[in-house]
């Protein structure tokens, strides 16, 4: 994830959807993908934190990626999945609308995020890949986890 596209010829990416948009996450940071299960809400956490779940005896926080990117909350359906991923030593679950496939993407087809889009979610983007006419938005997991919090903390300071 930390290694930029240039140093590798191709990347393996877990492809998932959020509200009809296609996203990708480096497979190296994905531990497993599970079905949605009962989530315990934790008071006092940011909106995008859905709560905590029990993953085989471990308590793991789960976030709703839709909310994280300021979209309306996910609708829980049969295709809803939780991607369990690790970044910066923490393990978190991310609720996504569906997981479709694992793709090999040539590094050459990855472009940096367009500079023109600004906003809270943009900094969590690592780049955009075009594969077979499909546009896949690649996420930087470390930033998904921490940028928003940092922003909120800075907000408190003001």
């Amino acid at each position: 994830m930390a290694v930029s596209g240039q140093s590798r010829i191709e990347e393996q990416v877990v492809v998932f959807t959020l509200r009809d948009q296609v996203y990708g996450m480096d497979i190296g940071s994905v531990l497993e993908i599970i079905r949605m299960e009962s989530v315990t809400r934790v008071p006092g956490t940011p909106d995008f934190i859905e709560g905590i779940i029990n993953l085989r005896g471990k308590v793991i926080p789960v976030m709703d990626l839709c909310r994280r990117f300021n979209m309306p909350p996910s609708k829980i359906s049969d295709s809803t999945r939780v991607i369990i991923a690790e970044a910066g030593g923490v393990t978190v679950g991310m609720i996504v609308d569906s997981v479709s496939e694992v793709l090999r993407i040539p590094a050459s087809s990855i472009e940096p995020p367009p500079a023109i889009i600004a906003g809270s979610s943009i900094e969590a983007l690592r780049g955009i890949a075009l594969v077979d006419e499909k546009m896949i938005i690649l996420l930087d997991l470390g930033k998904v986890l921490y940028e928003e919090e940092k922003r909120q903390l800075e907000g408190f300071g003001k």
């Binding site: 315990t40 934790v42 008071p43 956490t45 005896g57 308590v59 393990t91």
Partner: protein
């Protein structure tokens, strides 16, 4: 250089041996030292000498060498224990600890010359005494080639008798080494090495050191304690190159001349019992060797997690068993599943218990450090203390053990400094000259209780009141209204300290409030009672473990929350109409006093779903404060495994962790102390 693992093993061994010397020197001071105690110190010093020399810590090797020499003399009975000796030994021990710190980088340029001189000086005076005529036999001048065992001195006699009691044999062995031997030291080393594998060498002639350095004529003699028979010992020794012949004579304790108890059989029995008692007192890890493996705590935690999963799966299996029973009735197959499920349940419970036990350590790891501290403090303050430790073997979770040390030290210091009077004052009061401080650990129900009892002057209410007033901790009108108990509780106020002058023993004003905080941090509680002129008892109540606690489970909306039972004082059922207001805050009146209320629904911004307008209040207590928490319903008590919320969520207000329920769902654990601390201040201030 040596790698980390070797270094770690060395440091651990060092720690263990220093502790062993420390414990045994205390015993030495107390009763003049039994042979076992002296033997134990000798051995510990010997081990440190060996390993530190190998590791290249010369100062340490040199120091332990001198200690070893000293104890070799004590062991042989050519020197007596006296106070000066004990003092120097403690000084040497301190130096040893400093040298250890030097290795870990916590100290620099530790000088040991001073204490080395003192140790050598003692050895010299010992020589003088010996030449003046020492009654005990086995002088080093006697011929090693004697045809049979020397007259054995008392110490050796004791050890042989004790060995017999334990089912060992004692042999006198004379080893004859080839006169043309080029490497006498190596041969001797092999002999020692071989014999030490099958038993224990308790005496040698000439002294072990001389033999191992090759300073012997044609052979040497040894006394060996072993379970092997004489033939076997002989075979082993004869297999060593250049050993010409081996003479073995079995020794019986009755043969020892000058042994006082040998005369009558009855007397001998009595002595034996005494010896066993003393042996038990000698704290040496080698003698009662427990077979152990060092395991990373993380591994135990992982095991615990796996067991929790097993528990959850078992619960699920139970549900399926019910389904099958409903569907197919009591068919044989269903019965089988029921049986398997029950058995699995039993095994998981046992497994959980065993892993919990594996995390436990005896409180001895903390308690063993204290006698020395008590001795030093007492000496510094000119007080005489009889320090009694009971229940060392009581086991506690290792996390609790880590935290409990400081509060204990503080309470014991207080007991000696503030509690126990000076010897003169005690005599004047008609008390025994020596003050008594008892430290005791025991199991009480599912808790461990540690009590510190002193027979000193007790807590003086007036003095405490005066002090609190002087320090500006309370106003005089508030003080006047206080009950005795409330006044005594002032000692738990931050910044309170009654020491007349600040000594380096206690009374730095970081006293009892810190003690109480530390104990509460690990879900414990501090209680005390005191009687003027009779003494004070402090009682620390601790959970057996920090991982599993008993909790009161409550329902809020569709979620379950857990309240640590250690903070739950009581539960009440109330009606909405019972709730009164003080300004904007809700309170209820319970048995005449005002109890501030917090609604969990409000605190956590969650939905509340009450039936028939009844509310339940969980009364939480921390220190002296009480707060009622309003919940939807009470579910019941349960043992829960505490899990952290993880670093991503971090510290959440009002929550102290999470736990996994039987059905696999996650429940949040309420931070009772936090809630008590944060609420009710304003209301109480107003109410009062």
């Amino acid at each position: 250089m040596f790698n980390d693992v070797e270094m770690m093993v060395f440091m651990e061994e060092l720690e263990e041996k220093i502790q062993s010397i420390n414990d045994n020197v205390l015993l030495l001071e107390k009763d003049g030292g039994s042979p076992e105690v002296i033997q134990e110190i000798f051995r510990a010093a010997h081990t440190i000498k060996g390993s530190s020399a190998v590791m290249g810590f010369e100062k340490m090797a040199g120091l332990t060498h001198e200690i070893e020499n000293l104890f070799d003399r004590l062991r042989q009975g050519t020197m007596e224990v006296n106070t000066h000796l004990v003092d120097v030994l403690f000084e040497a021990l301190d130096n040893l600890k400093m040298l250890k710190d030097e290795i870990t980088g916590n100290a620099r340029d530790v000088q040991v010359e001073d204490v080395l001189h003192k140790l050598r000086a003692i050895l010299k005076t010992g020589d003088g005494e010996e030449s003046a005529g020492n009654g005990h036999g086995a002088g080093s001048g006697s011929s090693p080639q004697a045809g049979g065992p020397d007259r054995l001195d008392e110490v050796i006699g004791d050890m042989i008798r004790e060995a017999e009691v334990r089912g060992f044999q004692a042999y006198w062995i004379n080893v004859d080494i080839d006169s043309g031997c080029q490497m006498k030291n190596v041969r001797a080393f092999l002999v020692f090495e071989t014999l030490q594998q099958i038993g224990e060498i308790i005496k040698s002639d000439p002294p072990a050191e001389d033999i191992q350095e090759g300073r012997y004529d044609r052979g040497f003699s040894l006394v060996l304690i072993t379970k092997e028979d004489a033939g076997q010992v002989k075979n082993l020794l004869m297999s060593i190159a250049e050993v010409n012949s081996v003479d073995i004579v079995q020794l019986e304790s009755g043969e020892t001349d000058g042994y006082p108890g040998a005369a009558s059989e009855g007397g001998r029995q009595e002595e034996d019992v005494g010896d066993i008692g003393r042996r038990a007192a000698a704290a040496g890890p080698e003698k009662n060797a427990i077979k152990t493996v060092r395991v990373d705590v993380q591994k135990l935690d992982n095991l615990m997690n796996l067991v929790s999963e097993l528990v959850i799966d078992r619960t699920r299996l139970d549900r399926f068993v019910d389904i099958f029973e409903n569907k197919y009735g009591s068919e044989e197959l269903v019965e089988n599943i029921v049986e398997i499920s029950n058995h699995l349940g039993q095994i998981t419970t046992d497994l959980q218990d065993e892993i919990m036990k594996a995390r436990m350590l005896p409180v001895a790891t903390v308690f063993n450090r204290l006698p020395r501290m008590v001795r030093d403090i007492a000496q510094k303050l000119g007080k005489e203390i009889d320090f009694i430790v009971e229940g060392k073997e009581t086991e506690l979770d290792r996390n609790v053990i880590e935290i409990i040390g400081d509060p204990l030290i503080h309470l014991i210091r207080n007991a000696i400094d503030h509690g126990i009077e000076s010897p003169e004052e005690r005599l004047r009061l008609g008390k025994p000259r020596k003050g008594r401080v008892v430290l005791k650990a025991s199991y009480v129900e599912s808790h461990i209780v540690i009590t510190i009892t002193d027979d000193g002057r007790g807590m003086d209410v007036e003095k405490i009141k005066k002090k609190a007033l002087e320090k500006g901790l309370v106003k005089s009108d508030a003080l006047a209204r206080m009950s005795t108990r409330e006044a005594l509780d002032l000692i738990f106020m931050p910044g309170f300290s009654t020491a007349e002058e600040v000594s380096d023993v206690s009374g730095r004003g970081v006293g009892m409030d810190i003690v109480r905080n530390q104990i509460e941090q690990i879900n414990g509680a501090v209680e005390y009672s005191s009687e003027v002129g009779r003494g004070t008892i402090f009682q620390i109540k601790l959970p057996l473990t920090l991982v599993i606690i008993r909790a009161l489970m409550v329902g809020m909306g569709d979620q379950v929350y857990a309240f640590p039972l250690s903070n739950v004082m009581e539960t009440l059922a109330i009606k909405e109409s019972d709730i009164k207001f003080i300004r904007h805050s809700e309170v209820i009146v319970v048995r005449g006093s005002v109890l501030p209320l917090v609604r969990l629904a409000g605190l956590f911004q969650i939905e509340s779903r009450t039936e028939d307008g009844r509310l339940y209040v969980v009364v939480l207590g921390s220190g002296n404060r009480r707060v009622g928490v309003v919940v939807d319903k009470l579910i019941g008590e349960q043992e829960i495994v505490i899990k952290s919320l993880g670093s991503y969520l971090g510290q959440m207000t009002g929550l102290s962790g999470a736990t996994i329920l039987g059905d696999g769902r996650v429940a949040l654990i309420i931070d009772a102390k936090g809630i008590v601390k944060d609420t009710g201040k304003e209301e109480l201030a107003y109410a009062n």
